[in-house]
């Protein structure tokens, strides 16, 4: 997609969300409505090639859509669908549909007999499971063979839960469920589903970077409008300092995230870990600075700020927080040894981690 096409895409998504005016907390109904709206415009299949029933565009274009949804605090599993479930489906050779989908990383076991496949297991805190029509998950059988499974949600048990931003995070379980309308494909270690955590971490990083931009914009606007002591508070050096620091966080996080978002979607582990770490740190710092500038009004339910900051706080924790990815990244770096450090930092080609 060209630059102007990408801009048009972003504007379309913004326009749809503004027009719909979704409230808070994000409800099932709102998520369903949002998905339907996006599907009408082909937006749920951005990143899926046209010859595979999709709308075309790259993984980067799909990330642009997800970023805007995050910036608008929109409801629904767009990140999970566009940046994880659908790439998994495509790399398995399946054609994605435009029905709502999510993925459930957990402990799943597949058994096979003459009747077909049986699924058992569970996954905790599956994003938007209650709204998804189909759920994608990695599973294993007793022999250790791995599979990618796609199952209609109606065949599973779903227990509702939420994260701190009141987004659905449902527990999903199955006990010897005979797969009637599911798809199963054997996969190996090279399949992205082997690294669900990294794909999930990257998706959250993209969302964080979207929300960060919106928080910065909101904060700059507020500081320009709120008058105390006879002038907009943006004229006070203390406030300027906060906003400058906030902008710094946003820019740094964006840079880290765009390094991890590749055209074809392939994961670069080092960039992904770095993106999640930097985005997570930025999420904490930016949220704190934005709330400080907004003062008491930013603390009310009525004001929009918390819709973004609570998402930032939730997303930084999901799929590994900074502590987790720092440890892993540190281990990779140490294993490469001192001679491996400089090439790692300066190389522009994809890294291979031990």
């Amino acid at each position: 997609m060209s630059g102007t096409e990408r801009e048009l895409l972003v504007e379309t998504v913004e326009g749809l969300l503004h027009g719909a005016g979704f409230g808070d907390p994000p409800t099932e109904g709102a998520a369903q409505q949002a998905w339907k709206l996006f599907a009408e415009y082909g937006l749920t299949l951005v990143g899926v090639p046209e010859d595979r029933n999709g709308s075309g565009g790259t993984f980067e274009d799909a990330s642009a859509v997800v970023r805007v949804v995050a910036a608008e605090a929109g409801p629904g599993a767009f990140a999970e669908a566009l940046l994880v479930a659908q790439p998994f489906q495509m790399r398995t050779g399946w054609v994605p549909s435009d029905a709502p989908v999510t993925f459930a990383d957990g402990t799943w076991r597949l058994d096979r007999d003459s009747a077909g496949f049986t699924l058992s297991g569970h996954a905790r805190r599956v994003p938007w499971a209650r709204v998804a029509e189909r759920i994608v998950m990695p599973a294993s059988d007793d022999a250790g063979q791995r599979y990618l499974v796609e199952v209609p949600t109606s065949e599973l048990d779903v227990v509702h839960g939420t994260n701190v931003a009141d987004e659905p995070r449902d527990d999903v379980a199955a006990e010897g469920v005979i797969l009637r309308d599911g798809r199963v494909r054997e996969i190996d270690d090279r399949h992205p589903a082997a690294d669900v955590e990294m794909w999930g971490a990257r998706a959250r990083s993209v969302q964080i970077s979207g929300a960060l931009g919106a928080v910065l914009e909101m904060t700059v606007r507020y500081a320009g409008e709120r008058v105390q002591f006879g002038r907009p508070i943006a004229r006070f050096q203390a406030v300027q300092q906060h906003i400058a620091a906030l902008a710094g966080e946003v820019v740094a996080a964006r840079a880290a995230v765009s390094a991890a978002v590749t055209d074809d979607g392939e994961i670069d582990p080092v960039s992904t870990a770095a993106a999640k770490i930097r985005a997570g740190i930025a999420a904490s710092n930016a949220a704190a600075l934005a709330h400080q500038v907004h003062g008491a009004i930013g603390f009310t339910q009525e004001h929009r700020l918390h819709r973004l900051t609570r998402r930032l706080w939730s997303w930084r924790e999901e799929f590994g927080n900074e502590l987790y990815w720092s440890r892993r990244l540190g281990e990779w770096i140490v294993e490469r040894g001192a001679d491996g450090l400089w090439p790692l930092i300066t190389s522009t080609s994809r890294s291979v981690v031990p």
């Binding site: 203390a238 003062g295 009310t300 502590l323």
Partner: protein, 385 residues
């Protein structure tokens, strides 16, 4: 039981013993739930009957005349005993001492006793939608009408408005005077028909905030404290009490750090160097805080009043508290954002306290304002312009 206010350690022993026999076994229902208000008021009355309400008030007004060190001891024991949250903080801690400092003898006779006995509850009417950090720009107008004032305007962020009997408010009596010169401190009845209270929901769901609209509300002239036009200096007295000296609060933060340590152990992360680094930093911060507030309390006893150090205390503890809960959430990782925790060492209200720590950097004078005060009053730097 008598409480020896001249000997801190003897005082500590008697207070601890009293608390042990009087603090309810079960936590009281929250103030904003059914029966919660009355349960908390009953507890305030118990403290009053024991002579423990208004510790720092002069004896002639029903207090114990306790200095800052004694107040600190009381607070430490109170927190350590997990005693109920105080309902009467604004009365005992703010408007009571303000009336003692600026009120007439008649006003002291009228207002102080019902504050001590918790028969009258108070809310604070300072902030307005257009007057936050710039408190002096309040617009609520009070016009003299015979022997009363007719008051109209809007106050916001008013805690306890739904339960208060009275509001102490900063209002503008003279729009022609200078910004700081036309203000008056007045006591307003909350049962006036011209008062409308609208609840404001906070992002962490904590109730208790409200917007209060006043339309032609009447307050008798004798409810003005400190004289018409002197409102700013009376309000500054009240705010200095609000900022406080952080007395005894270090106990709460030290316990929070203990919670972090237990959590780290329960999660099996106690050997992680990054975790240990964060935990030791939090520990050192709380120890520094404890030493500082004790020193400030001693100094305040010598001078007889809370000094500008209150700004340092407020700035320090609010930022420390944010870091404590930031550390807690980092430790918990992905589990942090679950609303129910499987870990024994995690307090049930972890998220609420995390959010409230953010609010602490904003209320009672934003940390930016506190830094300005520290710069001017403690460091002698020129006024910011």
């Amino acid at each position: 039981m008598t409480f020896p206010v001249d000997e801190p350690e003897a005082f500590r022993d008697t207070v601890r013993a009293w608390l042990r026999t009087h603090v309810p076994d079960e936590p009281l229902p929250p103030v904003y739930e059914d029966r919660g208000l009355e349960a908390h008021r009953a507890w305030e009355k118990e403290l009053y009957e024991a002579g423990l309400a208004g510790l720092d008030w002069p004896e002639e007004y029903g207090g114990l005349g306790a200095g800052y060190r004694i107040q600190a001891v009381f607070q430490e024991e109170y927190v350590a005993a997990d005693a109920p949250t105080r309902l009467n903080r604004l009365g005992l801690g703010l408007v009571g001492p303000t009336i003692i400092a600026h009120g007439t003898p008649e006003q002291r006779r009228r207002w102080l006793q019902p504050i001590l006995s918790a028969d009258e509850l108070w809310c604070q009417g300072f902030t307005e939608p257009e007057a936050g950090s710039d408190l002096a720009s309040v617009r609520t107008r009070a016009e003299r009408d015979g022997d009363a004032y007719a008051i109209s305007g809007t106050k916001v962020w008013t805690s306890l408005a739904t339960y208060a009997d009275w509001m102490f408010a900063l209002v503008r009596t003279d729009p022609e005077a200078s910004k700081h010169g036309g203000l008056t401190f007045v006591l307003i009845p909350m049962d006036d028909p011209g008062i409308t209270i609208s609840p404001i929901r906070q992002l962490h769901g904590e109730p208790g905030f409200a917007e209060v609209r006043l339309e032609d509300v009447r307050a008798p002239a004798e409810n003005v404290v400190g004289g018409e036009g002197n409102g700013w200096s009376v309000a500054m007295t009240a705010l200095s009490f609000e900022r406080g000296t952080g007395l005894g609060s270090h106990v709460r933060f030290s316990r929070d750090v203990e919670m972090l340590v237990e959590l780290a152990k329960e999660l099996g992360r106690a050997s992680d160097p990054a975790v240990r680094d964060a935990l030791t930093a939090r520990f050192v911060e709380t120890e520094v805080f404890r030493a500082y507030v004790q020193e400030v309390a001693s100094r305040a006893d010598e001078t007889g009043e809370p000094g500008p150090e209150a700004s340092v205390t407020k700035l320090y503890w609010s930022e420390m508290e944010s870091r404590i809960f930031e550390t807690a959430l980092e430790l918990l990782g992905a589990d942090a954002e679950r609303l129910e925790h499987p870990y024994a060492s995690v307090p049930a209200d972890l998220h609420r306290r995390y959010w409230h720590a953010r609010a602490a950097k904003i209320f009672a004078g934003t940390n930016e304002v506190q830094r300005n005060l520290i710069a001017r009053r403690l460091l002698g730097l020129p006024r910011y312009s």
